[in-house]
């Protein structure tokens, strides 16, 4: 008897489950991957807003991987396995070429209206990065670039103007450090650990001489003497005590935390850091943070490293239509203005930089536009993962002084040259 009852109960439960299942089927759940630095909290608000207008689409957020490399590792594991679990993901500006060459991401032309959709107001660098062989593979969402942050109070105290060249910066830093007499005060903080930021550490003083790393076709055009000169500029500042000796250990968050603690005069970091200096409860430099374009090498021109995050669609997704509509919403001007206001995230649209609503919250965006327009992007090649690894590992070893700049640059030229020809 008991057995029969149990059987009946199971049948009932199964039937109920099937009914619920058919109701569920009209509701689509999209799973989205967002890195922890790309403000999942703000994305959540955007998804809620989207859900109000499209009640049948629910969005779930997955987050993980503290850095760009870790996120790339995670996503390439998922995508190599042709997993359909994640429908959309936010990827770094350096990734669309690699992902599209592997067939991991879906062309978006059908959903956003072809490359024309990226022209007019989007920043030019995002038009280049996201269109591959005439097809749109990702849509820009958050802008980012490397800026030079400085202590307004200290520069004013010692009557130092914003330096325009690296030599001026070193002189200014030394003057302030000598005056303050604080052994913990660093002149300049850059990232020398073998992380993605070290690729920019390699490129900044190289670009700052007006040199190009690659041509439009993605072929390596490395000027070896200029690259050596750039690296020697960093090592020279280490010798002068402007940059600390263990720079090869410094990661992006170290620079943020040390600047926040008031231990740094000048710091190179991504745009997101400004919000941390301004708002974090433990920031000792609130109201004293200035932002300026990066200095140039003597006789060169200022150049910075472009970053930023784009929405891309999993080629193995089973909800492509719904995902396509969501991407269109997430890459809209309205969404860009929202994250700019709420999170001080650099807009991907030129006009949003001058939006009065946005400027009320983040006044420095007005001055950021010329910096961003002049910014350069890291090489966008299919093998970027490998190119980046070679550059950052070698740069870090040079800054740790286990390789000479000459030997390191030769190694980069030879190994990257094989991947970019």
């Amino acid at each position: 008897m008991k057995k029969r009852q149990a059987l009946k109960f199971t049948a009932l439960a199964l039937a109920a489950g099937l009914c619920a299942g058919s109701v569920w089927a009209q509701q689509t759940t999209l799973r989205v991957f967002v890195g922890p630095n790309q403000r999942p909290d703000l994305q959540q608000k955007l998804f809620q807003e989207y859900n109000k207008a499209n009640p049948n689409v629910k969005v779930e957020i997955e987050t993980g991987g503290a850095t760009s490399e870790l996120q790339r590792q995670y996503l390439s594991t998922v995508l190599n396995a042709k997993d359909s679990a994640i429908d959309l993901f936010l990827i770094d500006i350096v990734n669309p070429a690699q992902y599209s060459s592997k067939g991991w991401i879906e062309p978006l032309d059908k959903y956003v209206g072809g490359p024309a959709a990226l022209r007019n107001d989007y920043l030019p660098v995002y038009q280049q990065a996201n269109v591959i062989d005439g097809k749109v593979f990702a849509m820009p969402s958050q802008g980012d670039a490397m800026f030079m942050y400085y202590r307004k109070d200290l520069l004013a105290k010692y009557g130092v103007a914003e330096p325009k060249t690296w030599d001026e910066l070193a002189a200014a830093a030394k003057k302030i450090m000598a005056g303050e007499g604080n052994a913990n005060l660093q002149g300049l903080s850059i990232q020398g650990a073998p992380i993605e930021g070290a690729v920019c550490t390699f490129l900044l003083p190289y670009w700052g001489q007006g040199k190009q790393f690659n041509d439009a076709g993605g072929k390596l055009t490395l000027d070896k003497p200029a690259a050596v000169k750039g690296l020697n500029a960093w090592l020279g500042m280490v010798d002068q005590g402007v940059i600390k000796k263990n720079v090869a250990e410094v990661k992006t968050p170290d620079t943020v935390n040390e600047f926040k603690a008031g231990q740094v005069v000048f710091a190179i970091n991504w745009g997101f850091a400004f919000d941390r200096f301004k708002d974090d409860a433990d920031s000792k430099v609130k109201g004293q943070v200035g932002v300026m374009p990066l200095p140039a090498m003597a006789g060169g021109k200022s150049a910075t490293c472009m970053g930023g995050w784009q929405w891309a669609m999993n080629a193995y997704s089973t909800h492509k239509d719904e995902a396509g509509k969501l991407i269109k919403f997430l890459s809209s001007k309205q969404a860009s203005a929202f994250v700019a206001k709420e999170g001080s995230i650099l807009p991907v649209f030129q006009s949003v930089y001058a939006d009065p609503e946005v400027n009320k919250v983040v006044p420095w965006f007005k001055d950021a536009l010329p910096v961003v327009l002049a910014a350069q992007s890291r090489p966008m090649v299919n093998d970027y993962g490998q190119v980046s690894d070679i550059i950052r590992t070698t740069t870090s070893a040079i800054l740790a002084r286990t390789k000479t700049p000459e030997a390191g640059v030769d190694e980069i030229a030879a190994r990257v040259g094989r991947l970019m020809r």
């Binding site: 490399e69 090869a248 093998d383 690894d389 590992t393 286990t402």
Partner: protein, 292 residues
């Protein structure tokens, strides 16, 4: 056929009982290894050209492969005997007749229970130039005037990694050896005392020979895991400075995950498989036989 299954002979029964385990082994051991070799041989390059044995030639000529192999073997040669000696000392200590045994056992277990990457991260902080306790202690003792960047100097970084691995793995050795120690009958030592043997003689004539089977088992396990060293150098130095502390397992991870080059990564893994096979075979053939 059916009647045969209902009343199986001894032989049929054996086949029936073994087949589930065999199928499982086939699925989780033989298939992945087969797929690995397939991936390494049947890879295609970017333009779709068939590579065949080219991957094997490329690996053989890759200086990074030889660098990683050398690092891996060096780590094995240093940390396996290192962990054995420290582990044996710990096991002898834990085998002393303490009143309460559990605090000793617990402190033996703790490093073993800690995930490898935690151990790596903790020791990376110990050796950090500015925030590390190692520099702090050395400077307080007046042994150095300026902090040393341990993990930025190839040799020191290598030494720091070996030290961490020994700390982490000695407790596993100690656990196996402690079990072995407790199997040795007390009467042997009593007899030796009657015969006038001192402690040193007792150790070499009784403890070590009686412990040999445990030592061999511990060595085999430890050597195989040492050849696969990944977590601790990955979290401590990421293979740096440059490639000075990169192991074979890290190189495989780099090619397959970071570079998405499954073919080349698989070929590297085949090489690592062969190295492990040779080393394990050596153990089983030489040391294993002598101990038995």
């Amino acid at each position: 056929m059916l009647s045969k299954l209902r009343d199986p002979s001894e032989k049929t029964l054996a086949v029936m009982l073994l087949s589930p385990a065999f199928a499982l082994l086939l699925a989780i051991v033989v298939y992945p290894i087969g797929k690995l070799i397939y991936n390494s041989l049947f890879a295609i390059d970017k333009d779709g050209a068939f590579l065949g044995l080219q991957n094997y030639v490329d690996v053989w000529q890759d200086p990074l492969f030889w660098n990683a192999t050398q690092n891996t073997l060096l780590i094995t040669l240093i940390t396996v005997p290192g962990a054995l000696i420290v582990g044996l000392a710990l096991a002898l200590l834990a085998n002393l007749p303490f009143k309460r045994k559990w605090p000793v056992r617990l402190s033996l277990l703790l490093p073993w229970a800690l995930p490898l990457s935690f151990a790596g991260l903790i020791f990376a902080w110990f050796f950090h130039t500015e925030y590390g306790v190692v520099n702090d202690v050395l400077m307080r003792l007046g042994l150095q005037d300026e902090p040393t960047s341990w993990l930025l100097k190839p040799r020191w970084a290598f030494a720091a990694i070996c030290l961490t691995i020994i700390w982490k793995t000695a407790s596993f050795m100690a656990l196996i050896l402690l079990a072995g120690l407790q199997m040795i009958p007390r009467s042997l030592y009593e007899a030796a005392e009657v015969d006038g043997a001192n402690l040193w003689q007792q150790f070499w004539q009784i403890t070590i020979p009686m412990l040999m089977p445990s030592i061999v088992v511990a060595l085999i396990f430890r050597t195989i895991t040492a050849l696969q060293t990944f977590d601790i150098p990955y979290t401590m130095t990421k293979g740096g400075p440059g490639e000075a502390t990169e192991t074979l397992a890290m190189l495989i991870h780099k090619y397959t995950i970071d570079y998405s080059d499954i073919g080349f990564g698989s070929t590297l893994a085949v090489f690592m498989f062969v190295i492990s096979l040779v080393v394990t075979g050596f153990y089983l053939n030489h040391i294993g036989k002598n101990a038995a």
